[in-house]
């Protein structure tokens, strides 16, 4: 797999405040990479640095093989950015907005009208195409902004809090559209958000940012495993467990904790390889096993644990 984004020791300060602090990470081509962090963590600043619209104070970055600082214009031709505020020209119509940005991104005149129409259609703006965008609802503006970021068929997409401030329905539409366009054509997506459900649904890997520092990067599942010692396994039983089950389970090498609540049994093991031994021990002790589910840590658990640790240190 090739690398879409790579940074090393990236730093950006504003006065005495360090917005992006010694940031090093990479995102593979074709993946959806989520950057999670509270307001002021440095997400927007990072997007600006990665697109060369802001200068870094130290470190280096490569996006699609370009150095954003020196090859910004070439990079921006292949990159689409959905900014935090919709950045729609409210005095222009939806069509004029798309046409304008398409021209600036160098879409050939011959393709532009067709592409504009297709996007307006797909984003449900067709019947309002020639109305001024100023009269649009927030959700429509955001969909128009989304269409704008796609007009030049970019190889990499940056979404900066795409659903912030939208009502659930509009947010859902935007998330659906992002899901639809993310997978397509091996396009890389860099998604900044503090909406963890959205990140959980869309992202292959996430980075967790706090005060400009990356606290962790990885697949949500891997992050969970690294953060907590051991792995919890939920074992569903058809009947209350036989007496002595907990003692039998604690006898398994690698099992560290057992909880029994009615017909619900939970066992903490060192790692996944211990699970088969736990299952046979339980069966041998007479437990009627219905299902076995290794417990995944939700992105919520991961996020809040990391943020709390960072604040504490």
């Amino acid at each position: 797999m090739s690398v879409a984004i790579e940074t090393e020791g990236l730093v950006r300060r504003f006065g005495t405040r360090t917005a992006v602090n010694e940031l090093s990470f990479r995102a593979e081509a074709g993946e959806v990479f989520g950057l999670l962090g509270p307001n002021g963590a440095g997400k927007t600043t990072l997007v600006r640095l990665l697109n060369g619209v802001l200068k870094a104070d130290a470190g280096r970055a490569h996006v699609l093989g370009c150095d954003p600082q020196t090859q910004g214009d070439a990079l921006r031709r292949r990159s689409g950015v959905l900014t935090e505020t919709p950045s729609i020209y409210e005095r222009l119509t939806a069509r004029q907005n798309l046409h304008f940005f398409g021209t600036l991104y160098g879409v050939p005149e011959a393709d532009l009208a067709r592409r504009t129409d297709a996007l307006l259609e797909q984003f449900g703006l067709h019947d309002r195409a020639d109305d001024r965008a100023g009269g649009f609802s927030k959700g429509m503006k955001q969909r128009l902004a989304l269409a704008r970021t796609l007009i030049h068929q970019p190889d990499i997409l940056f979404f900066d809090e795409p659903t912030a401030g939208l009502d659930p329905e509009a947010a859902q539409q935007v998330t659906d559209l992002i899901a639809q366009y993310s997978g397509a054509d091996g396009r890389t997506v860099f998604l900044c958000t503090h909406n963890l459900d959205e990140a959980g649904r869309l992202c292959d890997r996430v980075g967790i940012l706090n005060h400009g520092r990356l606290l962790a990067v990885g697949k949500p599942d891997d992050l969970g495993r690294n953060l907590w010692d051991g792995q919890w396994v939920d074992i569903g039983l058809t009947a209350p467990p036989p007496a002595g089950l907990d003692a039998a389970l604690m006898g398994v090498a690698g099992a560290t904790q057992v909880q029994i609540k009615g017909a619900a049994l939970a066992v903490q093991v060192r790692d996944e390889s211990v699970i088969p031994a736990v299952v046979s021990a339980a069966a041998a002790a007479g437990a009627q096993i219905l299902r076995v589910t290794p417990r995944a840590h939700s992105l919520h658990d991961i996020y809040f644990k990391l943020q709390a640790e960072a604040e504490a240190s």
Partner: protein, 279 residues
């Protein structure tokens, strides 16, 4: 420089300004006052006053001093004219020519403010900076969006002014007498320079303010040099001959050049974005 990009930016800005009544309403009212209302007043008023009053006006001590000290070429242009005719030539033929520069400077600075601060204020600048348009293309597009309408508006105003001065004014003057030679230089050479100056002023002011209204109020300062030219003329320090007009144009173009160097440092992605604290 990609002219397709530049054209798109200029057209977009122009469309946007047309949507901002606050921006363009004054740029239509002021020319109307300058090119039609004031000239008509000056032409018609002395005629309606009794001869005595007009005569009194001409006997005002300051004015007499002014007339006595006229540069020879200017004195020659009013030699043999009666009092009303002298008034018309001095006021509309000479005093008004620097005043006319208010049109290009006001128009271009208002459009320039709308296109720079307006874009910051309405939070559309960021998306623009993410496009591959180069800083020079952005700047040139915005420059053309301000300067072309400013120059065209001034030329249209000049055409109307000429018409008024030769029709209504022609009755008093008894002939087609306008434009005087230096007007051509003012309109063709100085006007574009001043339009560019208004735009540059707007760029520099825009870098320091947050809203269109604030920029709009500050661009009022740009009219000061024009007022100084008018005062210079009234005080008899300056006589707008073809050569002087040419010289004024040259000076303004030079100032434009210096401001351009300054503006190109303000209109960079890093400077525009670095000043934005985000949402």
């Amino acid at each position: 420089m990609n002219w397709r990009t530049i054209r798109a930016i200029a057209l977009k800005d122009w469309r946007e300004v047309r949507g901002n009544k606050m921006a363009w309403a004054p740029t239509l009212i002021v020319p109307l006052i300058f090119c039609v209302v004031l000239p008509l007043l000056i032409i018609v008023l002395p005629g309606t006053l009794s001869n005595g009053e007009a005569g009194d006006m001409m006997k005002d001590a300051d004015l007499e001093l002014f007339l006595a000290n006229l540069p020879p070429a200017m004195a020659a242009s009013i030699a043999g004219l009666n009092e009303s005719q002298t008034m018309i030539v001095l006021l509309l033929g000479y005093l008004f020519s620097p005043l006319f520069l208010i049109l290009p400077i006001m128009t271009s600075s208002v459009i320039g403010s709308d296109s720079f601060v307006g874009e910051k204020e309405r939070k559309t600048m960021e998306a623009l900076l993410y496009t591959p348009a180069t800083e020079r293309e952005l700047f040139t597009g915005k420059m053309l969006a301000a300067v072309i309408p400013a120059v065209l508006l001034t030329w249209a105003g000049f055409a109307v002014y000429t018409l008024v001065l030769n029709s209504a004014g022609g009755v008093v003057m008894g002939r087609v007498w306008f434009p005087l030679p230096h007007w051509w230089v003012m309109v063709l050479w100085v006007t574009p320079a001043v339009a560019v100056l208004g735009m540059m002023g707007a760029v520099v002011i825009s870098a320091r303010v947050k809203s269109f209204m604030e920029a709009y109020q500050n661009t009022g300062l740009l009219v000061l040099p024009v007022i100084m030219l008018v005062i210079g003329q009234v005080a008899g320090l300056l006589y707008l001959s073809v050569l002087v007009a040419f010289g004024i144009g040259l000076v303004v173009w030079l100032i434009d050049g210096i401001l351009l160097l300054f503006a190109l440092r303000i209109v960079t992605r890093a400077a525009l974005m670095g000043a934005d604290k985000g949402a």
